[in-house]
């Protein structure tokens, strides 16, 4: 496999191999642009994937020391797990469920649509849906998203979603379906069709679900234009006297440090690690961290407004059989301020196995006893949803560096603060009520409301903004302060929208690759 010299300063260094970094690496490689990907985790393959919730959690999760902070329940109940993301080859595309929704037009223009929201820091994206549509289409074709772009039918409906869908029908809803999902419903792109295995979020054992682990990354390597170094943890981005970035210092598996020189650096380490790296790269020239003249690096952390809601039905459901997120209800995704909140939410059918249901039904010290045990005896009669709604950017929510404690690499431990906005509480309450009504219509006897899980959707900490004083990067993810420093992951998001972020991350990465090729070709960077 191709190896680039540490002193080769013609390469693009990409930090992270997930939806953003992995896609960018392959897009650049196909254009003949050379890159080195630094992936902090290990190289996984299909042999590592098991249908076992805790085994996979322990194998692939990012479990380096972190602190949860702020007013959300996780600061108490998940004190060291603010986010549920992956450390490994393929990043969180190993864990993601495959939901591939586009942001709505108004979600790119939240400031214009909502106006100023007290206590929030809501802004417009510097791109519109109209500009993004062709990139969304490219992303859908790349990933194999069921729906009109590919012509691939949505997946067959499993038991758990059929219950939800029937409740939707009986309550007069029209927008519910088993897609769009980046899961093959037919053989496509050298990957098999879904076998309704379940355990999508433990890594798809057969590769029916798109993941950079077995698509973008090996394809990038095959070109000879991309070297992926695993167990390579980025520690610091270096710059020269002119302020241009020049390379990345990283630690290898043995803890030895190396400097990989670079023409361009693209940060795609997910929404906690990306701002953390920029903050850890502070220098005398950039005392507040790289690309941080706006002061917005590490701020505006968004996770989506989320919760779980599970109903007990009169008969067996066996919701765990089949695709984990088997269907999506979309008709609450609209901005109707008379509901008492701005923005909207999806209800996404989500099966949990018995171990995770028992852990998350009532997380924390109180989650035991007769009420919990009684609920779990009805496990095989449950169907339920994950509520995924827009989360308002707030400056107080974000990633900061611990004052004294360092991790195994000697870097300050990240402290991840999240306090829900009142908008979140109002939306969650509405979504619980809506879900209960849907399931009541199919005869639910009990409905259990679960608080948010540690976030798998993490966004906003290096946000895009047309105004360099209000955001970190421009519409192409290029930092306002440093022309050859880019952000390529979900930390670019200006608003969270209601939808799962991966499709937008991939679309932005494809678009960014095009821009990089153009700017490098023109000698601008």
């Amino acid at each position: 496999m191709t190896q680039f010299d540490l002193n080769d300063d013609t390469v693009v260094v990409i930090i992270g191999s997930g939806a953003g970094g992995g896609t960018l690496a392959n897009e650049l490689a196909q254009k003949g642009i050379k890159s080195v990907v630094l992936e902090a985790g290990k190289r996984f393959d299909f042999g590592d994937i098991e249908n076992d919730e805790w085994a996979m959690f322990n194998k692939i999760s990012w479990l380096d020391k972190r602190y949860s902070a702020g007013g959300w329940h996780g600061a108490v109940n998940h004190p060291n797990l603010p986010a549920w993301i992956v450390k490994g080859f393929g990043g969180s595309t190993v864990h993601w469920a495959g939901v591939s929704l586009r942001l709505k037009d108004y979600e790119f223009k939240t400031r214009t649509t909502y106006g100023e929201i007290a206590g929030a820091n809501v802004e417009d994206w510097p791109v519109s849906l109209e500009e993004m549509v062709p990139w969304y289409e490219k992303a859908e074709l790349k990933m194999g998203v069921t729906g009109k772009t590919t012509g691939m039918p949505h997946l067959p409906w499993n038991n758990g979603f059929r219950v939800l869908a029937e409740g939707c029908r009986r309550t007069g809803r029209t927008d519910y379906n088993s897609g769009p999902m980046a899961i093959n419903s037919v053989e496509r792109d050298d990957r098999p069709s879904c076998q309704q295995i379940g355990f999508c979020m433990q890594g798809c054992a057969i590769g029916a679900k798109w993941s950079t682990m077995y698509t973008e990354l090996p394809r990038a390597e095959e070109t000879g234009n991309c070297e992926i170094r695993t167990e390579a943890m980025a520690l610091k981005i270096e710059h020269d006297e002119s302020g241009k970035v020049t390379g990345v210092v990283y630690a290898d598996a043995d803890g030895n440090q190396h400097l990989q020189k670079a023409r361009v650096v693209c940060v795609a380490g997910n929404t906690i690690e990306s701002p953390r790296l920029l903050l850890n790269s502070a220098s005398s020239m950039f005392p507040d961290g790289l690309a941080n003249s706006s002061g917005q690096v590490g701020k505006n952390y968004m996770t989506h407004t989320t919760a779980g809601c599970y109903a007990v039905l009169p008969e067996k459901v066996h919701m765990f059989r089949g695709t984990s997120v088997a269907g999506i209800v979309g008709d609450e995704v609209k901005d109707v301020p008379s509901r008492g909140f701005n923005g909207g939410y999806y209800l996404e059918f989500l099966s949990l196995g018995l171990p995770f249901m028992a852990a998350f039904l009532e997380p924390g010290n109180t989650g035991w006893g007769r009420s919990v045990a009684r609920a779990l005896e009805q496990y095989d009669q449950m169907s339920g949803v994950w509520i995924c709604g827009e989360d308002m950017a707030q400056e107080q929510n974000g990633v900061t560096l611990h004052e004294s404690e360092v991790d195994q690499y000697g870097l300050p431990v990240p402290v991840v603060a999240k306090t829900p906005h009142n908008n979140d509480y109002e939306m969650t309450s509405h979504a619980y009520e809506t879900t209960a009504q849907i399931y009541e219509a199919v005869g639910a006897t009990d409905v259990y409301e679960l608080p948010a899980y540690p976030a798998s959707h993490n966004m906003g900490t290096n946000r895009m903004h047309a105004d360099p004083s209000k955001g970190v990067v421009n519409a192409h993810g290029q930092s306002h302060d440093i022309a050859n420093l880019f952000v390529s992951d979900g930390s670019q998001f200006t608003s969270s929208g209601a939808c799962n972020p991966t499709l937008t991350i991939v679309a932005l990465a494809i678009r960014q690759a095009e821009y990089l090729a153009q700017e490098m070709g023109a000698g601008n960077i």
């Binding site: 249908n51 039918p153 059929r162 219950v163 355990f199 066996h318 059989r321 196995g353 018995l354 009532e362």
Partner: protein, 200 residues
């Protein structure tokens, strides 16, 4: 709203006589408890007997049953296995062992003070759970609770009793094994219907 509490559905049907069922099971399992734990710790695993005396072993078994009570669903041996795991952990960690012994003593003292009997002899399961609630934030309790959690809900031997079937990839997934077999709601769309909706 976003607190970590179960919120019961507002239209919840009246409960069946759960407490009555529970109490019958309680009487039976308590009668067995002293014997089985004593046998297990003294006979099968003699090395563990030192961690707790018979009375405290029986109290621990009652406590583990009260943490995740499934009297009609799980065999007593499931809880005995959890107790064995706790005892094994105590053998390997003297400070944890001390915390468990002191916690059990504290719990019994509280039971004596309020109900005039040892914890394991209180017949009302609500009363026992109430006592446990007062110590639920203590390390010894959560240590036992999480061992019980993994021993019961992450235990492949017990999954079938909850109707959970677990790993499917080795069987070719659920595609031919009932992923869409329920009959109390309508079928989903056919392949032809699903194709028609995405093709222009």
């Amino acid at each position: 709203m976003l607190q970590g509490r179960i919120v019961f559905h507002r239209l919840k049907k009246p409960e069946k006589d759960y407490a009555g069922v529970s109490r019958r099971m309680f009487l039976m399992t308590t009668a067995m408890a002293g014997v089985t734990v004593g046998t297990m710790t003294a006979g099968v695993r003699p090395g563990l007997a030192a961690a707790l005396d018979d009375q405290q072993s029986a109290q621990l078994l009652r406590m583990v049953q009260d943490i995740y009570p499934h009297p009609d669903l799980l065999p007593l041996s499931a809880y005995e296995d959890v107790v064995a795991t706790v005892l094994a952990g105590m053998d390997n960690d003297e400070s944890a062992a001390k915390a468990v012994r002191e916690g059990l003593t504290q719990l019994n003292a509280m039971a004596q003070e309020i109900y005039g009997s040892a914890y394991a002899d209180i017949e009302d399961p609500d009363a026992r759970e109430g006592l446990l609630r007062t110590v639920e934030n203590e390390g010894f309790f959560q240590g036992i609770r999480w061992k019980a959690y993994f021993g019961i809900y992450d235990n492949k031997e017990l999954w079938p009793l909850f109707g959970y079937e677990g790993s499917s990839v080795e069987h070719g997934g659920y595609i031919d094994r009932g992923f869409s077999d329920i009959t109390f709601v309508p079928q989903g769309p056919t392949l032809e219907e699903r194709l028609a909706e995405v093709q222009n």
